[in-house]
């Protein structure tokens, strides 16, 4: 695989992972071009297309497009399932994942992707193994986090402090209410898997 992109229906790039050395300028150009091509396609069209000298495999989950560029000889269908397995991993980790999870926890999304794919090749296809690696990492810092943080009332999006720093508390709650839980944003907060009827 040469690279993987996640972008929204509005053309906002949410995650990019490059598996070959590419100059920043070229990256930006390729992202722009490719987003245009993919976003212009209609829902029933096939998930594969030829673009430059690459094969593009993409799939839309709710408001997000997952898009992989693979080499000529790579298998399209299995790439499609690479995407799906990645979505499942995100879903399992975030608990019914939505675009906002990926925005606010972008570093986690990168860590999960790194555990799953390395250098563009699959490292492990077992959901358990991949998540075990991630959760292990979380456990290492859990002690510290639990001291000062509690869960958001909606219990989904992110944690916030309940103790001494009041002004911080209110600002975080504000974030939570305005963008995630009340779903006033354009990005769909629904689970991407729910959309597919898989959750």
């Amino acid at each position: 695989m040469r690279f993987m992109l996640l972008f929204s229906r509005q053309g906002k790039l949410r995650l990019q992972k490059w598996y070959t050395a590419t100059a920043e300028r070229d990256k930006k150009k390729m992202v722009r071009e490719l987003m245009q091509v993919v976003l212009a396609r209609k829902p029933k069209m096939c998930s594969f297309l030829e673009w430059r000298d690459l094969k593009i495999v993409y799939k839309r989950y709710a408001s997000l497009y997952f898009c992989c560029a693979v080499e000529e000889q790579d298998n399209e269908l299995i790439t499609l399932e690479v995407i799906h397995r990645f979505v499942e991993l995100l879903d399992k980790y975030f608990g019914s994942v939505c675009e906002l999870d990926i925005i606010f926890n972008f570093e986690k999304a990168y860590f999960i992707l790194d555990e799953f794919l390395m250098g563009g090749e699959i490292q492990d296809t077992s959901k358990k193994s991949v998540l075990k690696a991630i959760e292990q990492a979380d456990l290492l810092q859990e002690v510290r986090v639990c001291d000062s943080l509690n869960w958001c009332p909606c219990a989904v999006h992110f944690s916030m402090p309940t103790t001494n720093k009041c002004e911080r508390v209110s600002s975080v709650i504000c974030v939570c209410l305005s963008s995630a839980c009340l779903s006033q944003e354009d990005e769909s907060p629904r689970s991407v898997l729910e959309e597919m009827g898989l959750a």
Binding site: Y19, A21, K44, M45, C46, S47, F48, L49, E50, N75, E76, L77, I78, E81, V82, H84, Y93, F94, G95, I103, F104, N105, F106, E107, K108, F111, M118, G119, G120, E121, I122, Q123, D124, T125, S126, K128, S129, A133, E135, Q136, A137, D138, L140, Q141, E142, V145, L149, W151, V156, F158, S159, M160, R168, S171, V172, C174, V175, S179, E185, L198
Partner: protein
């Protein structure tokens, strides 16, 4: 409990992200970012030492800003500091930042490498994995230099944890891809192959990607992976859908691993070991069978995973190209997919069938789906699927269906997407030329092409139609008539005007008898387009006019008047002005004879590879590849026929560009030199001055006349006894001394192709008898002066039958077996005998040896009868690479650094016969100055040395 709650601690980051998202405009966002950058900068520069948590938070913010698309020029140092933190998440963020934002700051790289080194030797598996991920993500040469030696050790060490092994394998793969020279093969390579046997499926999955890549570059060193891969695959394929637990994906056992195993096998030829091969064929059959079973789940993931394996298996079957049964089954399966409701499957089926179409075993089976594919071209809503359908039609096209396919492609072209029109035009043009039986059809097709998609008709296409019309007298009148009619359309494309101008200028006389297309009518028609055309086309038309003066003296005054008018003779374009002035002068001072000589009909163009094909090849479409192969096959056939075409090799180099060159009249040349100059300009254009050879189509015409002669010949004339071998059979045999596959024989009726493989004293040869006619061959039989399995007595028109011959070399031999072929075609008995290209060298096993060993053995074989020597003149150019290829094709090992003279070649090999093994040494001394070779063979058996010497002396 949602898992997310566990890790997230950076509330400042969340606030920042949320702020950015609330920004109403781009300016507000930039303002907010600049504020944050200033804040972070001051924190980093501040006197107070930051704790790890804050550092992590700020680095993460910087990363976020960078990923939004803004430049980041600081923070690298803080990220590097995080690497040496002993808190996992701090380290993790540090590595993430480095992976995304690393630049080749050498000072920093040294620090990063140090941190990585520490983590790699920490024996803490999570830290080791982080470090390996970082190396794989950055993958720079500096990192390869620092770690390429260490990682293989981690990979194969006995005490490495599975998760670390997985990361190490893929990390090494990345380094190998970026800097293959730094990853040295060694003792670890054999142990890597055995990871295919690992108990942990994750380790196998990761390792196989590495093994596949390494095998592509070093197939011999990784040969043992074939049998391991087959047994692993067999275990997966035969396992129940729940056996593999977490590695079962929607009821499909280990789909990723299966695909990768099948992919790995595609790096190698079919397994030689019968048992392994049997097992593999069984696997492939099981996979094909499973495709027919009802699905275990309705979910698309289930069918995708299952079909991913199926397509990979089909790719392997196509790669082997040796199991007709499997190929036909694969084709049938794809045929089902062509009508599947999933667009993805239809797309892939079309794509995969394209490669199947080029296999001789399945070409016919693919052709049966023509209606479905045409339908796809017409009705698919997705342009990328239609594109695949067009590719497939191109690949499945042959003489039998060319008219239908070309017609369909033409009608599709009228509505085709702009993005694919140019390629479609090229394909139609190629097919029309390649399969043209009658050239009026060809001319019609190309003119239609210009009419429908004139804008997309490149110069190559219209050059080509003119070349063909010039070279073929029988179509010239028709071409003139058709193009004349086409020009009458009120709006016609400029390319049509170009073709019209050229063809009427050359052959307008052929239709001038008809009052409706009298010379003046022709001229007026052309001239009515003149003002709408671009400069190059006008220039071409001016040349057509001067030719008209020669062809039809009655038009002289009209044309002179046109040339004389100010818009021509004073044209601001130098080229047009010059032509007008010179043509006017030429027409008024030259006598009719001189004019006739200057403007003589164009000589035929030398035959060469179609420039259109060269152009399509450059476009590298999947269909184009198979076209190239077909072309190659055709070329080989031509050589066997002894009709080597002079232009074939030099073809791609030159594409005629300015139209004036094609005309051969760039500037009005001095009268006396004119005909010569036309010729020499052609030389410039084609870089090939050979005499005009027969065009590709001559064979067909020859066949047409020939077939009637044959059917009227009384059958009794030909004897029933095997005919004596054809006079050229020795020559045909010689073509196969250094190669194993190709066309053995071809005439107007029959083509015999050969594929063969040899191993030790055994060989297998596939003979393909292709009926080139549209009529059945009956009583088809072949006999060999040894025993032969009978072949199907009927060969349908256009069809091909296959015959397999197993060969065992019992002892050494000189004479090739004789193959006699008899069949009735239209009542006439055809009887021909050929030498089967089995020569003693086919049973060579290469032997590597040192210089010392070689000369020692050379001396041991010093009796006069053990040596055969021949000095002969070079028949082919003395190209070192070609010589090497031929010597390798001979089957011996080519030994480097043995002969003190580097110009010379020495080879060694052992001929394996059932009775004995015969060692042979060879030395070939080229003398470039004299264009001579001296060939010396020494062998433990005198007859062998003699025979090899005879065979080889014909090769160079």
């Amino acid at each position: 409990m949602p898992a997310v709650s566990k890790g997230d601690g950076m509330r400042g980051l969340a606030v920042f992200i949320s702020d950015i998202r609330n920004c109403k405009s781009k300016e507000a966002e930039i303002k907010r970012i600049n504020k944050e950058l200033a804040n972070i900068r001051s924190k980093f520069k501040g006197d107070k030492a930051l704790d790890g948590y804050s550092k992590k938070k700020y680095v993460c913010k910087l990363l976020f800003i960078f990923l939004l698309g803004h430049d980041i020029d600081f923070g690298h140092m803080e990220a590097v500091n995080l690497l040496s933190s002993n808190k996992y998440t701090e380290k993790q963020i540090g590595y993430l930042f480095i992976s995304v934002l690393v630049n080749s700051n050498s000072e920093l790289i040294r620090l990063i490498n140090n941190a990585i080194k520490n983590d790699l030797s920490s024996r803490n598996p999570t830290f080791m994995c982080l470090a390996l991920h970082c190396i794989a993500n950055v993958g720079s040469r500096e990192m390869a230099e620092a770690f390429a030696g260490e990682i293989p050790r981690i990979l194969v060490a006995g005490d490495t944890m599975d998760s670390v092994k997985q990361s190490a394998a893929l990390c090494l793969l990345r380094l190998y891809k970026t800097s293959p020279d730094l990853v040295l093969m060694g003792e670890w390579t054999s142990r890597v192959v055995h990871l295919l046997n690992d108990q942990h499926m994750g380790v196998v999955t990761a390792a196989i990607s590495l093994i596949t890549c390494l095998s592509q570059k070093n197939p011999d060193e990784f040969k043992t992976c074939v049998s391991l891969a087959v047994s692993r695959l067999s275990r997966i394929v035969s396992s129940a859908s729940t056996d593999l637990q977490d590695y079962t994906y929607y009821f499909v056992p280990a789909p990723w691993l299966s695909c990768k195993l099948l992919r790995l096998l595609q790096c190698y030829p079919p397994p030689e070991d019968g048992a392994v091969k049997g097992r593999l064929v069984e696997c492939l059959e099981t996979i094909l069978n499973k495709a027919q079973e009802p699905p275990k789940s309705k979910k698309v993931q289930h069918s995708n995973a299952k079909n991913a394996i199926l397509f990979e298996a089909i790719a392997l079957i196509i790669h082997y190209d040796s199991e007709p049964n499997l190929l036909v089954r694969a084709c049938n399966q794809l045929g089902q997919f062509l009508q599947h409701r999933e667009t993805n499957l239809r797309y892939l089926a079309l794509e995969s069938m394209c490669t199947l179409a080029s296999s001789e075993f399945s070409h016919e089976a693919v052709k049966t789906h023509i209606e479905t594919v045409i339908n796809a071209l017409k009705t698919e809503r997705d342009v990328s699927v239609r594109q695949r359908a067009a590719d497939l039609l191109y690949a499945m096209c042959d003489r039998s269906n060319a008219k239908q396919i070309v017609a369909e492609m033409l009608s599709y072209l009228e509505t085709a997407d702009y993005s694919i029109r140019e390629e479609m035009v090229l394909k139609v043009a190629i097919l029309a030329e390649k399969y043209a039986v009658d050239y009026s059809w060809y001319v019609d097709t190309i003119l239609n092409l210009i009419r429908i998609a004139g804008d997309y008709v490149s110069e190559e296409v219209w050059y080509r139609v003119i070349q063909i019309v010039i070279n073929r007298d029988d179509v010239q009148g028709y071409a003139a008539k058709t193009v004349f009619e086409a020009l009458q359309a009120p709006a016609c494309h400029e390319n049509m005007v170009k073709v019209g101008g050229y063809i009427l200028g050359e052959f307008g006389n052929l239709i001038a008898g008809d009052p409706r297309s009298s010379p003046l009518v022709q001229f007026n028609l052309l001239h009515s387009k003149f003002h709408l055309c671009s400069v190059p086309t006008r220039a071409l038309l001016l040349s057509a006019y001067i030719k008209f003066i020669n062809l039809f003296p009655e038009t002289k005054s009209t044309i002179q008047e046109v040339l004389r008018c100010d818009s021509q003779i004073r044209n601001s374009d130098v080229e047009l002005q010059q032509r007008a002035v010179e043509y006017l002068k030429l027409s008024s001072i030259a006598s009719t004879d001189v004019l006739a000589t200057v403007l003589e009909e164009m000589p035929p163009f030398p035959e060469r590879e179609s420039s259109i094909l060269a152009k399509l090849k450059k476009k590298k479409g999947p269909g184009a590849v198979s076209a190239g192969e077909l072309e190659e096959g055709k070329r080989e056939g031509g050589e066997v026929n002894g009709a080597e075409r002079p232009g074939d090799n030099a073809a791609i180099a030159s594409t005629p560009s300015p139209s004036a060159d094609l005309l051969g009249l760039r500037s009005a040349a001095p009268v006396s030199a004119a005909p010569v100059s036309a010729g020499s300009l052609l030389v410039d254009v084609f870089s090939e001055a050979g005499p005009a050879a027969s065009t590709a189509g001559v064979n067909d015409d020859g066949f047409l006349s020939c077939s009637s002669a044959l059917s009227s010949a009384p059958p009794s004339v030909v004897s029933e006894d095997p005919a004596p071998p054809l006079p050229e059979s020795d020559e045909l045999l010689n073509k196969f001394v250094c190669k194993n596959n190709g066309v053995l024989f071809e005439n107007q009726l029959l083509q015999i192709g050969i594929k063969s493989e040899y191993r030790q004293n055994l060989g297998r040869m596939y003979l393909f008898y292709g009926n080139k006619t549209s009529v059945q061959f009956v009583s088809f039989s072949t006999t060999l002066n040894v025993q032969l399995k009978p072949v199907d007595p009927l060969v349908e028109g256009g069809a091909q039958v296959q015959q397999v011959i197993n060969i065992e070399c019992l002892s050494d031999f000189s004479d090739a077996p004789l193959l006699n072929i008899k069949f009735r075609y239209g009542g006439a008995l055809q009887n021909l005998s050929l030498k089967l290209p089995v020569t003693i060298n086919k049973f060579f096993q290469p032997t590597e040896m040192s210089s010392h060993d070689f000369f020692q053995r050379w001396k041991q074989l010093s009796q006069p009868q053990q040596e055969a020597q021949k000095i002969f003149k070079a028949n082919h150019p003395m190209d070192t690479e070609v010589l090497k290829a031929k010597l390798l094709g001979l089957g011996t090992a080519l030994l480097d650094n043995v002969d003190p003279n580097p110009e010379n070649f020495v080879c060694a090999g052992v001929i394996q016969t059932k009775a004995q093994q015969i060692g042979c040494l060879l030395r070939l001394e080229p003398n470039a100055q004299a264009q001579m070779y001296r060939l010396t063979l020494r062998s433990s058996k005198d007859t062998v040395a003699k025979r090899l010497c005879e065979l080889l002396s014909e090769q160079f």
